[in-house]
Symmetry: C2
Subunit: 370 residues, 2 copies
Amino acid sequence: MPADDFVVTPWHVKGDIDYDKLIKRFGTEGITSELRDRIKRVAGEDHFMLRRGIFFSHRDMNIILDKYEGGGGFFLYTGRGPSGHTHIGHLVPWVFARWLQEKFDVNMYFQITDDEKFYSKPDLTLEDTTKFAYENALDFVALGFNPEKTKIIINTRNIQTLYPIAARVAKKINFSNTKATFGFTNETNIGMIFYTSLQSAPCFIEDKPVLIPLGVDQDPHFRLTRDIAPKIGQQKPALIHNIMIPGLEGPGGKMSASDERGTIYTTDSPEEVRKKINKYAFSGGQQDIEQHRIHGGDPDIDVSYQYLRIFFEPDDDKLRTIYDDYKSGRLLSGELKAILIEKINKFLAVHQEKREKAKSQVEQFLFENK
Amino acid sequence: MPADDFVVTPWHVKGDIDYDKLIKRFGTEGITSELRDRIKRVAGEDHFMLRRGIFFSHRDMNIILDKYEGGGGFFLYTGRGPSGHTHIGHLVPWVFARWLQEKFDVNMYFQITDDEKFYSKPDLTLEDTTKFAYENALDFVALGFNPEKTKIIINTRNIQTLYPIAARVAKKINFSNTKATFGFTNETNIGMIFYTSLQSAPCFIEDKPVLIPLGVDQDPHFRLTRDIAPKIGQQKPALIHNIMIPGLEGPGGKMSASDERGTIYTTDSPEEVRKKINKYAFSGGQQDIEQHRIHGGDPDIDVSYQYLRIFFEPDDDKLRTIYDDYKSGRLLSGELKAILIEKINKFLAVHQEKREKAKSQVEQFLFENK
């Protein structure tokens, strides 16, 4: 891997991602200020994740807006690979999806891919991943999706519905396609090889166009889906991509549910959050206070600042102040961390309460096979 | 392909099959006279398909008999790929399986792989293969399986039950394994690549050993299953293999449901049977009656004789007489064909009546997902 290079696939994110390069590499389109303005106008409201470039890229977002403005419908779809508890990075596309659902008043499907994580993680059993599927579903429900318009699909639970759709997709994808798209080898297991067709299936669950808010690492699946859609008489899914959320220990990957040190889980206690941030959160500050007061910190590489920007401080003015104060050296790394810790714990206190309530609500969100 | 060579895979049978060579190539065991005697003793009856070497090979049949004699149970499993109507070649393992069920009083699972035929046949839709699945199920039910102990699995209908089992198998099979076993290439579609794990799944549907009577072309699937079984804490399936049933036009393949000329369907009218046999059935006779009276015919390559041997004349004495008369020239090719036509039409008259009745019985045979 050359110094300026990076890897982004659904199962492997490595290196310092250059998102402009990634847009070219994946063949997506950057979100322009025109598109941002259009979304704002049609939705009737702006979203800080768009303003700040957390959602930075898309495919056919304009077509979705055209259809919507023309009076036609669309639906939303996103998902989660349940390899462990939900962490705060996962919440980014979900929170944005919830906002889209509210603004456009559309159906939402949330696919939890317990089979995928079973195939891709040697040490996980299907019981493990199915257990995490239900745990993750609680976090999703806790975010406040419209219960009338939202369905959670769990792959092993809803395979009866998914498989016939996936089969039509699978017939049009050969091993070469999966090698080129995912870098599969002769050693890849056949569950993994087939799996992408199951991630495609919810795209075709309604006879309407679909919009998928998702981490950009998942784009390769839907690149394949978009190639195949016309071959099976279906519309291509539209996508809107968010950046990878860095792990606590800094850039060079994404937050991983299986790396406990680098990860804030939605189930963490305030004390755990405090400890993890203080101990592991990569700092853009100087080596000592004196130096920091003189030279200031670098918020652009500081994980605590980035978490505020990406998720925990939606107020642009407040964020700006933090940025300036940190850069000038007025705000110390410990103080920045304290701000983040407070924000996270405030968020998690509410979230964990809603997550408790979700235990009695989740049933009504589960998709029922017909 | 050298002159003495042949190909036998689940999707391709070609050439003049040397079954002794095939046993070595596949690594199975021939059915010895000792094993035949043992089956006869334990079952309490002989079966002409064993006596005549129609079932010629096995894997672990002795283990099944050991378990049975030791008071332990086993179950039966076989299946059908619904690419068209049932033809008489398909009935061979089913009729034998019915006999096994009767003699051993065990559960029987019949898997109809509508997904497989969709994946492997470019021109068939999933609707086509699912339609044929129900048609084929009627033929199966018509053979008189015990309704209390027999379940028909249709893959798309029962994927809810099959998929979690198949997933455990799929995780242990990589693309290399499928290349080596089935000759898959980079152009093979990912449905086909995954499919073998679904054919494995019924092996593990009960917590007992399974015995699979099947055409030897299906052995590669279960060779893989047998490799994997211990890795997922399961018992290896036992197999008993029948030879390939030749098409009407002679050896060099197997009867194919998609080649109308070479195939007698269970739905054919007496007139169709008469026409097909007279027109297409490969004859071992001489070019004219005079030559035939002098030199006699060759029953060993005569398809009509072979059909009598394989399926339609269970009486050894009667078959012997036909053999001798044909070989000596006493019996002409036309007369031999007439015997077969009468036998087939007699069989089909009864079968088609039972097949009609099966329309109201088939529902109770369908496996219900739990």
